[in-house]
């Protein structure tokens, strides 16, 4: 807890992980700007954070796919934050199942536009703001699926792999301004996205993931796997030669 509470701008704030993160951050005395498309849902989350944690919360309409809306999100967040440190949590993404994508090639555009293009556009804009602020935290939700392309999730995985590479560069750029960039690589989390797929192994509790994201950010971690064992799992998965890996039904 700090004397002047930080402000977290959360993009894609209706997602399960973003909601959990917002609660974790507000519980740790941060003020929150919730940005996303479903404003009435975000108003409910805002009310929840105000009642539970007595924090200041604001809702901003935001569509990752509409670049024209990007600038005003940062303007509103900056005004709301005032003298406090503004941090950024980027959580928006889409994840249709691979079978759905394979059935309709046109879907690819939407996934790449949202998960990669829009994220990069926004972060490029944010970089300028953070270089001016000269402090703060940037947290972006990547995925273990971006560590290795696999049969069941490779388009989504590819967008996240691209994002990971982008974040490595952004991290180097913002480090020079005293700003940390944390790439979160969650394993499968028990969210609305994964609810229908009963093939997935043990799903992580979103509240724990939200808390782990906050801790990773405040510790200034570069890359954090949540839950932590996924670092080891991915090390093993990445060590399998492509020759064999291509034959696996994963």
């Amino acid at each position: 807890m700090t004397a002047v509470p930080d402000t977290w701008l959360i993009l894609g704030a209706s997602s399960t992980i973003a909601r959990a993160f917002a609660r974790a951050a507000a519980a740790a005395n941060a003020n929150i700007v919730l940005a996303g498309r479903d404003v009435s849902d975000l108003e409910a989350t805002a009310a929840d954070l105000r009642v539970r944690f007595n924090q200041r919360v604001e809702v901003v309409e935001f569509d990752a796919r509409a670049p024209a809306t990007h600038a005003q999100v940062f303007d509103r967040a900056k005004t709301f934050a005032g003298p406090s440190t503004l941090n950024l949590f980027l959580a928006f993404a889409v994840m249709p199942t691979q079978a759905v994508i394979d059935a309709d090639p046109r879907l690819v555009q939407d996934i790449i536009d949202t998960n990669f293009t829009a994220a990069v556009q926004i972060l490029q804009r944010a970089a300028i703001l953070f270089e001016e602020q000269r402090r703060g935290r940037v947290v972006v939700i990547g995925s273990v699926a971006g560590d290795r392309g696999r049969l069941r999730n490779y388009v989504y995985g590819a967008t996240k792999a691209g994002l990971h590479a982008y974040l490595q560069g952004l991290r180097a750029r913002l480090w020079r301004s005293g700003v940390s960039v944390t790439t979160i690589k969650p394993g499968p989390v028990d969210t609305a996205l994964t609810f229908g797929s009963d093939r997935l192994p043990l799903l992580a509790d979103p509240d724990k993931v939200g808390a782990a994201c906050l801790k990773a950010a405040l510790d200034g971690r570069e890359v954090a796997y949540v839950p932590a064992p996924w670092r080891l799992i991915m090390m093993i998965l990445c060590a399998i030669p492509e020759k064999f890996f291509k034959k696996l039904n994963v």
Binding site: S14, A44, A47, V51, A192, G196, D198
Partner: protein, 451 residues
């Protein structure tokens, strides 16, 4: 809306169901789920029941072959007015969350069941009571209004003034009138984080009844733990706990939750092992009684510190019996119930004896002024028969069975126990003529038609 085929069970694990479940996170997804359940293909029953914390013991929140709406992700607080202590929340919020938010501000949930994992939606549906019922009534007594999504897809804001019949059918209505979207209820002021718990040994059921006569008028919280295997002169012996909010502060130290990691083989639980446990439980309180400082959670939710405690009864699961007997009949009826239980020698952990102060506001509200006895029975040969005998004794003395615990009640007994049933059915004919909202329990009890 994403649907998933899954197998679910009541908390007692004796009732199970294969269902098609959805877990909305946003209010508008509740409507989508209802529309999709109503439009399901012909092979699938076009019906739905809401399910919260999954703490009902029997088949209240099961809907075999049909749809289930899991509400646990609809857990936001939507508003709070410190002047009136009124809270508005989504139905899936748990008592644990309410306590964590409001107890530090000196506000208490007005009525709480014995587990903090229960949700507000479930509390409305079962009109739950707690250890303070004599003083403060059941949950429904504190509900100001709720928003209910009806079978026809419209949402109504319902209060005791705007639609008294629908209000009374929904409080204690086991989720059969519609889907809650939000609930407004009032918290109680004057709460503290800790309670002073006074424990006293009670040598028999008569001692209990005498003690309750006095303390139900004065104590904020009271509950009795009975050794259900004791017989003869010790019949109904146990420990009486009363509690008051303590002025004393104690640093809050969250308890480490332990878990029952496996299903306990049923041979471990037998009349001897349980007799020994009950004996220890009785003896740990000195003859002169004692006083201890406890956190509110420790006092209200003694079993919540053991995650999945229901696995202690093994894979076959267990039943919970809970009945309330009107005061006038209580001395005779409780004796008969306890003699029947002790005589059957069915292994059961401690039984719970409480007093209830007044009737609830719902047509099917469980509380009436009287004494309520609750206990578990591992499922096994003869258990169904024993529960039927207990049901008959309850009925003979003008008592009733708690639907949130029930798995075996018959439609005829239900009708005899709940005189508000015709009015309840009248409301259902109005708001849910096609039985869109139904559960395994509702069909078993004839509250809803068979498919």
């Amino acid at each position: 809306m994403t649907w998933r085929e899954m197998e679910i069970s009541g908390w007692g694990r004796s009732s199970t169901a294969r269902v098609r479940a959805a877990r909305p996170e946003r209010p508008r997804e509740i409507e989508a789920a209802l529309a999709q359940a109503k439009a399901a293909d012909k092979l699938r029953p076009r019906d739905l029941i809401a399910r919260g914390g999954g703490r009902a013991y029997g088949d209240s929140a099961l809907n075999d072959g049909g749809h289930v709406l899991l509400t646990t992700r609809l857990n936001r607080l939507l508003g709070f007015d410190p002047r009136t202590a009124e809270v508005v929340c989504e139905p899936g919020i748990s008592f644990a969350d309410l306590l964590a938010t409001f107890l530090p501000r000196g506000l208490m949930v007005p009525a709480s069941p014995g587990t903090a994992f229960a949700t507000v939606g479930g509390a409305v549906a079962a009109d739950v009571h707690g250890k303070n019922h004599d003083r403060h009534g059941s949950f429904g007594d504190h509900v100001r209004w709720f928003e209910l999504l009806l079978a026809d897809g419209t949402t109504r804001r319902v209060s005791a003034d705007t639609d008294p019949e629908l209000f009374a059918a929904t409080i204690g209505g086991m989720g059969l009138t519609g889907l809650l979207r939000s609930v407004c209820f009032r918290l109680l002021p004057g709460a503290r984080p800790n309670v002073t718990v006074r424990e006293q040994r009670m040598a028999s059921i008569d001692h209990f009844l005498t003690a309750f006569t006095e303390i139900r008028e004065t104590a904020t919280f009271s509950v009795g733990w009975i050794d259900a295997l004791a017989r003869g002169a010790s019949l109904g012996r146990g420990v009486l706990e009363t509690a008051e909010f303590a002025a004393e502060e104690r640093p809050f130290r969250p308890r480490k939750a332990r878990a029952v990691p496996v299903d306990v083989p049923h041979v471990v639980l037998n009349r001897w092992s349980i007799r020994a446990f009950n004996e220890l439980y009785f003896r740990r309180v000195p003859t002169g009684g004692r006083e201890r400082l406890r956190s509110v959670a420790e006092f209200l939710y003694p079993l919540d510190s053991i995650r999945d405690w229901n696995r202690i009864y093994g894979r076959r699961g267990f039943y919970q019996f809970q009945a309330v007997i009107p005061d006038v009949a209580a001395p005779v009826a409780l004796r008969q119930l306890l003699e029947t239980i002790a005589g059957a020698g069915k292994a059961s952990f401690l039984a719970v004896l409480k007093t209830l102060g007044r009737a609830g506001r719902g047509y099917l509200s469980f509380p009436i002024r009287g004494h309520t006895l609750a206990l578990d029975f591992p499922r096994g040969p003869g258990t169904d028969e024993l529960l039927r005998r207990l049901e008959a004794i309850t009925l003979d003395h003008g008592g009733r069975i708690y639907l949130a615990k029930d798995a075996l009640l018959s439609p005829a007994s239900l009708r005899a126990m709940y005189p508000g049933l015709p009015q309840f059915e009248e409301v259902l004919r109005r708001v849910d003529p096609d039985a869109v909202f139904t559960s395994d329990q509702a069909r078993r009890l004839g509250l809803k038609p068979p498919r």
